[in-house]
Assembly symmetry: C2
Homo-oligomer: 562 residues x 2
């Protein structure tokens, strides 16, 4: 059996390794256009940030061996042709034509199975100037090397990042610092538009601004302009001109499907190669996986394009198994994605609120904040969880997390629950690990779920910071009641004029001071005291009282707009 992989970064090596374990006879060949194999592309921003000192760290195994041609030959019994491009597939005769990109020598290889792992390429917008000098992308190791080298040798003081997806934000984080100012241009009205809803993105935006990033939202870049030497020096945007020394284009990636398309393989609605549940294309001798292939979304059942190394590895295993006749299906994905940037751990799984509403779901959401471990444990930090569910039955549709604390543990739990069709009651019942270093006795995820269930059933009446601010901006008369302790208020006063301050502990005596003729919004640090205060005022006969979801840990990101 002859198996050829086109692409040597993730899927190619994974299929090869698994196949070799299952099959001692197969002739396995990897064809890779570049010179590097099996590298951790996700680590490139870490290299730019100097967190990974040597680029080849991304190409070594955890025990220090470089994953080069020799490695695959000696450790995996896999033949590798680097700097070799697959130029054409002859499906009828099961041949692939390859060309060495250095020598130009051409060759024809026979296959029984072909695996397309052609990856993705940066999606560069069709604007003038993208080919100027000092305009970078961050897709391949050499891109990262060029950017890092340039920043270092030129002592650059200002960089413009175009796009605020994962790579855009990670790059901004890698570059921004006391000696280098970053301006981030995003065409949408929020950062991370494919990852987060606007309310969660607001938390990221405030943190980035706090760390000195100049964020321009709803700011499409119209052109890049160069100096006399042909290097970029100016960015023309819908909001004006930015003088800059370099531009990083991080406006997403597109699947590399030209080889597949020319071979007559089906391309899906996402623009990536269409595959079945075995990662097989419409040609049973050809599989596709990784950044060039589409997947199905678990919640919607529809094709999505979410290229990630984690899912690519799973696909590789399915491809090898299926080739060997082992029953293996690649499961639909939840689109779980995560990044660490600006000291925040940020992620999502499933559908966002905006997506869910657009698809016609009757949606209920909660935004909750809490500590990732007990407040008396020396290490603890805040995280915010947004849950998105169906109003009728409480079925979880998606979740988003953001915070300095351990938010990704909760995200992984939510991704797991989502996989099994959990509803909010299931979340409340989860028997998660509790000890003071790891969680609070009521874990913040359980708290988020109970808050959602309280809102869903109408037990708790809550308002989001987003809704509150838009109603205040519209001029509605609203009484904000800050129920925090005096010391908390003094340390971090609420910036909205006319806010009434009565600590929760005093409210039982002073409730008559609270006005009855307008909506009252109770506010605290995380939302729990606000909830108690709202309940207490209701007991005293108030009928227009709601608490601020997530308290000031969310609200503070909004209140400077009022």
């Amino acid at each position: 059996m002859k198996v050829i992989m086109v692409g040597g970064v993730v899927v190619g090596p994974k299929v090869s390794a698994r196949l070799r374990r299952l099959n001692s006879e197969a002739e396995i060949t990897i064809i890779e256009k570049g010179s590097l194999l099996s590298y951790g592309a996700c680590g490139l921003p870490l290299y730019v940030a100097n967190l990974v000192p040597q680029l080849d760290g991304l190409m070594r195994t955890s025990y220090g061996v470089l994953r080069d041609t020799d490695f695959f030959q000696s450790q995996k019994d896999v033949n590798v042709l680097t700097q070799t491009e697959a130029v054409k597939i002859d499906r009828a005769h099961k041949k692939v034509f390859v060309r060495n990109v250095v020598t130009g020598v051409e060759e024809t290889l026979d296959y029984d199975y072909l695996v397309l792992a052609t990856g993705a390429k940066p999606s560069v917008p069709p604007i003038p100037g993208v080919n100027l000098g000092q305009v970078f992308t961050l897709h391949r190791p050499q891109d990262a090397q060029a950017l890092k080298e340039f920043i270092k040798t030129k002592k650059v003081k200002h960089v413009t990042v175009m796009g605020s997806g994962l790579i855009g934000i990670e790059t901004a984080d890698a570059l921004a610092g006391p000696r280098l100012k970053v301006t981030l241009c995003e065409a949408e009205s929020q950062v991370l538009p494919k990852l987060l809803d606007g309310d969660m993105a607001k938390l990221v935006e405030r943190q980035m601004e706090g760390q000195g990033v100049d964020i321009r939202l709803s700011c499409r870049v119209k052109a890049l302009e160069g100096d006399a030497e042909g290097n970029v020096c100016r960015v023309q945007t819908e909001q004006g001109t930015i003088e800059t020394e370099a531009v990083v284009i991080a406006t997403g990636v597109r699947p590399e499907v030209s080889l597949a398309r020319e071979a007559g393989l089906m391309i899906g609605s996402t623009g990536a190669i269409k595959v079945d549940e075995h990662m097989m294309t419409n040609d049973p001798a050809i599989y596709a996986g990784g950044d060039c292939a589409e997947q199905l979304h678990l919640v919607t059942g529809e094709p999505v394009y979410i290229p990630l190394a984690s899912t690519a590895n799973k696909q590789g295993r399915v491809i090898a198994d299926h080739m060997m006749g082992i029953s293996a299906r690649y499961a639909p994905v939840e689109g779980t994605s995560v990044l660490q940037a600006f000291d925040l751990n940020i992620g999502r799984t499933g559908l966002g609120e905006a997506e869910a509403r657009k698809r016609g779901y009757n949606v209920v959401t909660s935004v909750s904040s809490g500590l990732d471990s007990t407040h008396y444990y020396p290490m603890h930090a805040n995280i915010t969880i947004k849950l998105i569910a169906e109003q009728e039955n409480g079925r979880l549709l998606g979740a988003q997390v953001c915070g300095v604390g351990e938010s990704v543990k909760r995200l992984d739990v939510l991704a797991t629950a989502l996989k099994f069709g959990a509803n909010v009651r299931d979340l409340i019942d989860l028997d998660l690990a509790y000890a003071p270093p790891f969680a609070t006795a009521i874990d913040v995820l359980i708290h988020a779920a109970t808050t959602l269930e309280n809102i869903r059933l109408g037990v708790a009446k809550a308002i989001t910071a987003e809704a509150l601010v838009s109603r205040l901006q519209a001029g509605e008369k609203i009484c904000l009641l800050d129920v925090r302790e005096r010391e908390e208020v003094a340390a971090n006063p609420l910036s909205i004029e006319g806010t009434m301050v009565i600590a929760l502990g005093e409210l039982r005596e002073r409730w008559e001071e609270v006005p009855k003729d307008s909506l009252v919004v109770t506010v605290c640090g995380l939302g729990i005291r606000g909830y108690d205060a709202a309940c207490m005022l209701e007991r005293k006969g108030a009928d227009q009282v709601v608490f601020l979801q997530g308290g000031l840990s969310v609200g503070n990101a909004y209140f400077d707009q009022v």
Copy 2:
């Protein structure tokens, strides 16, 4: 509606808070025998370890307010009687007789609903000397205070801890250090016998020994002996005498059920109060929750006694909801438990291997090690995951984790998967969050699941360190083949005589050196290269070759015994 809670630590306050939010009219009263309310008992070892400097840190809210009588009155509208003991229940007339433990004043309180949250008490073994001076338990805040004060003022140099459950191990960790030697006596043949299987416990034992703890296993304490002043000075065990300056008894807790028993309420097979899915006792006006009540185990469906603050809080919510007519059921638990000690994060969920075998399951297990995040990310550490599943269908029965790295995230995911009846294929498909700071592209949990599936289906032939060592000890001729790189072997050589060393990368040329007449066990750091080496030797015709599960990260805990 009059509702009385007997107990003010977890369930009492939780029922009260939830009930108050749902019901403005109820008269809610908490009766607490001690003087302290709502404290984080799980934090007591942290206080002994000086990680929590002030004991009252455990009794404050995250915003700094002491949870005392005033707090409950002013913030929750709940009446609290501290230092008040419930002495008897008159179920026919719905009355509870209480007595102030200081003044002796007695009182009779009417109730519509009574919540028993009487907690647990240390289970002290019936041996001579347990009432000597300088014999401690670690159950209430004053116990922790007494122990810490004693250690500090007496400059104690040796303490004996009896019992190696969670509290025993946490206490040993809190005390052990360069100036204080700890001897740990455990009657069973392993530490953490209720938490871990023997193989996982071995990892903990080696780590503890590495940090200077003198562990005595299978070592029942027969008596404590005192000096002339009535203070303990000697521990008599089955294995001899230990001279010591203090003893901490940490041999578990028992539910405090005397009030319930005397009132004729049903006590379950675990010795704790029997409740239904609404946490209701056999008297519909009386609920029970927390450390005095039993629960059902999700996997076995049988009653278990697993007292934890996390589950107690959930129970409190169910009690309040059910009282108010809201449909609420308390779900069976997986027995998820966790601790942090000796720089390890240790936990379990579901059934252990030994328990599962005892119950007649046809069990398959895997023990896998890996990094918690990418090796090129500055912070990363090893963790080991044991999975326990059914051989026939791969259904997950339980999991155990141990490691310096982020093992608890994986434990929570496994607990969540277990809740939904996951099998190992579901685990392989989990769409977990991947980015270099949080996981490897193939997460260690996914790796554990694929390893289990490979073993279950016979694709991979593996041996556990435990089985290997017992066969070596029995004198079997086994060839150990260390396939790590030269530098790794030099830095950390395998201590078993006659081990053959051929790096995986050289094996393709040197496979003929490997003997054919005995079992060959391939060994590497984490298990993956061992697996590849075994596959390679099989391809070359070897028919007696297996790889060491978890590699040396598990094996090293065993090999010093050979």
